[in-house]
Amino acid sequence: MDEQRFAIGLLLPGALWLLLLFAVPLGILLAISFGYTDDLGTAIYGTRLDNFEQAFDPVFLPVLLRSVGFALATVVLCVLIGYPVAYYIAVFGGRFKNVLIALVVLPFFVNYLVRTYAWIAMLGDEGLVNGVLDRNVQFLNTPWAVIGGLVYGYLAFMILPIYAALDRMDPALREAGKDLYGGPWQTFRYVTWPHTLPGVLAGTVLVFLPAVGDFVAAQLLGGPDEYMVGNLIQQQFFAAENWPFGAALTTVMMAFLLIWMVLYLRAAAREAREAAA
Amino acid sequence: MSEDRLRAHAAEPRASAIRFEGVRKQFGDAVAVERLHLEIASGEFFSLLGPSGCGKTTTLRMVAGFDQPSEGRIFLEGEPVERVPPYKRNVNTVFQSYALFEHLDVERNVAFGLKRRKVADDETRVRVREALELVELTGREKARPGELSGGQKQRVALARALVNRPAVLLLDEPLGALDLKLRKQMQVELKGIQREVGITFLYVTHDQEEALAMSDRIAVMEGGRIKQCGSPEEIYEQPSGPFVAGFIGVSNLLAGVVQNGAVKLASGDSCVADMPSDCPPGSEVHLSVRPEKIWIDELEEGMVEVKGTIVERVYVGTTTQVIVELAPGMRVTALEQNTARVHSHDRWRIGDRVRLGWHRQHARVLR
């Protein structure tokens, strides 16, 4: 078919690019996870599972678990902070809705590094807060500093989907809820929350995925005790020069995330099917 | 074309603009058009009429070149068009959604086809102006489609197609999105334009009044087949089957059995009628009579008669529909015009027993 050939011709360059420069490298990543290094440190392909075993041994397993833990904490905090803000803007924003949501998004156009650096500037030993309090409180190099940095870094990804879901929701539903349930909390629990749950889930995925692999926050705001899997991986590639191990760590992380992605997509598809029915 | 061909072509009295030979179109398992044989003469206003899904739009798209027939051949001005892509065919289409180019102004929209053909600038300007005059949109050259009303967009679409002087103009329910009054107005205008320009029009619609009003010939389609093809009068007065009779205008369809040269209805009435050859005694048929052909009570000599009780009277301004029950489940609608002399609501009341009659030749026996 003429149209078919034309369309296929058009999509080929982009598709090939993605195939060769994205899919293939992922394959290489997977392949090298099974490899090892020789004495010179060169990576060699193999079929060993050593790297995977090592990834789960007592030295490194805590790091993996910590990454998941931090990421989960980040998600929870993002919801706790992001939902009320999204709610206020969507429901009470009125004419200023667009301006307010733009203001929420604006800081996220500052480079992530600079934003994280800003927290160092604020909370560091020489930072503003310590200056104002005229004390020397240790804010940084703590787990909460890292989590805080993560929250600050990814909050917008939680607020936007929730805001979109709230904004799309028919206010009449809340009114009906008020009449039916009488109290604000019940209305929220039985009407608003279920309705905006897809938005919350979307936000969760958008925050959790990058947060697990983040290394900037841990590196800049924390110390070795706060290192996440991202820092580990980065170390393997730059300091320890153990690429196969780094690749294995990356693969493990990716596999872990993939499971959640698939579950989320299944749930979303089921939602869509039920909504259509 | 070779010289002999050219001469033969010129010698033909009414050249064929479009010819379908055994055309069939299948989408996967679904057959949209089945064994289409049709010839449309040059200069005709030809309509494809039918309900949604009957295949009329698919047929049009095959002429335009957007779809290829699964089987069969299509000929444009005598030439087969299988291998010819839409941009090389000498046809132009007016789309139901107008499909104007939003980023170009009216003038550039209309000039688009000419520019593709590398027509010189000055000639383009003249022809665009003429086309806009034809559709009564002079002065709106610089407007953008977004600023125009539905009716105006329709005119631009028409001008954009006509300016190229195609052999055939294809129109896909072009008036569907307009309100009733505008639609009626545009119908008259379109007919006038077609007469003036002399181009063959292939018009697709589901509105039977529209088709009857504008066409030289109509093909009534259903389920991918042509049920009947003929002039508006033929289609209306002599429907070939129950579908056409029911689709075109309003018709009473009375079920009955052929007996002694008449149709015996369930009500007991025996209606003399002109029998077609394929209806032997005992066949189950429908007797089709148009409401406006039925007289109430004051019948003429020789009319076919039935009796019944008035069950409903519907006043619709110009006419009054009187619904008479001949037997349980068998109802006939008769139409009386509300002229100055006759006021139906004075004459008949619900519950009255009346006689209905029609001339024998106004009823058709259909299988």
Binding site: F22, A121, G131, P184 | A64, T93, H103
Partner: protein, 300 residues
């Protein structure tokens, strides 16, 4: 809110009730969002405080992060006088421009092909398209690094550009595809009906109709590339390095006010770019804003 005001001359509430008026419902918490208002206010404060700090102190005449001693542009001078930093800035801009051009072109064509072609592998293509969007940057960065070293390509600006284009294509395709889906497909048929070949139709009719989406996507890609750190970090060569990588090294070494200046500068660039992405489509004569185009109608 139910305060009964009595205008002179009108009967009081009692009379109203008698006249059959309903009593006003008691005000509920949602109608007076005091908590939410305060919360949001504090939120914005905390959100902007660090950024305000960075911007403010980029103009500080002293090194201190605690006292603002006076207005000065010295840190900006330091920034622009530093040869390595200047090179980095130029490198970042070059990378972003190249990425923008190539990714936009490839992404647009991919979007068109995906929407118009009805092939069996479009499902797989869809996945291929969406995976980069959900892949954590570290994974993409590591795999890009592996690819380049395995192929024997030396790390340089080129490798950075290649990596950036790879993750940018998907953004463009998603934005353009949403816009394409909202276009009337009959318009392309109309163009062909009037004599335009497929290529002409694409050039004269489809592309202009897609233009707002393409511009918005392109600018988005520019901003993403200019700000990118992780991908660049894994695929950069020795020198020049893109600005964010330099910032990283600088921060590792300790806090210096020059970073404030760089940060503020980058913020300005990003804001201007996104502002253009939103405003340009409107300025170019289209009626929709870039924001609407970027957010697309996908989720509608």
């Amino acid at each position: 809110m139910s305060t009964t005001e009595t205008r002179p001359g009108t009967p009081g509430p009692a009379a109203d009730a008698e006249a059959g008026a309903r009593p006003a419902p008691p005000p509920r918490d949602f109608d007076r969002p005091r908590f939410l208002k305060v919360f949001t206010g504090v939120f914005f404060l905390v959100l902007f405080a660090p950024i305000a700090l960075v911007v403010l102190f980029s103009f500080n005449s002293s090194r201190s992060l605690q006292n603002f001693e006076g207005f000065s542009l010295r840190w900006y001078e330091r920034f622009f006088e530093n040869e390595a930093l200047r090179d980095s800035l130029i490198a970042s801009i070059e990378i972003a421009l190249l990425t923008m051009v190539v990714a936009t072109a490839l992404g647009t064509l991919l979007a068109y092909g995906l929407v118009r072609a009805r092939v069996r592998f479009s499902g797989a293509l869809n996945v291929l398209l969406l995976v980069p969007l959900v892949t954590p940057e570290i994974v993409a960065g590591v795999s890009a690094l592996l690819l380049f070293t395995q192929v024997g390509l030396e790390l340089s600006l080129t490798t950075i550009v290649l990596a950036h284009i790879t993750f940018s294509i998907s953004y463009v395709t998603v934005v353009v595809r949403a816009r394409l889906a909202s276009l009337n497909p009959e318009v392309e048929n109309a163009a062909m009906d009037l004599g335009a070949t497929r290529l002409q139709t694409f050039r004269l009719i489809t592309l202009p109709a897609l233009w707002p989406a393409i511009v918005a996507a392109g600018l988005l890609v520019f901003a993403l590339s200019f700000d990118d750190f992780v991908m660049s970090f894994f695929t950069t060569g020795e020198s020049p390095q893109p600005l964010p990588v330099r910032i990283w090294s600088a921060i590792r070494f300790g806090v210096t006010p020059t970073i404030n200046a760089i940060g503020t500068f980058m913020l300005t660039v990003s804001v201007i770019t996104i502002g253009l992405a939103i405003a340009l489509p409107r300025l170019l004569g289209r009626r929709e804003s870039g924001l609407g185009v970027l957010l697309g109608r996908e989720n509608a």
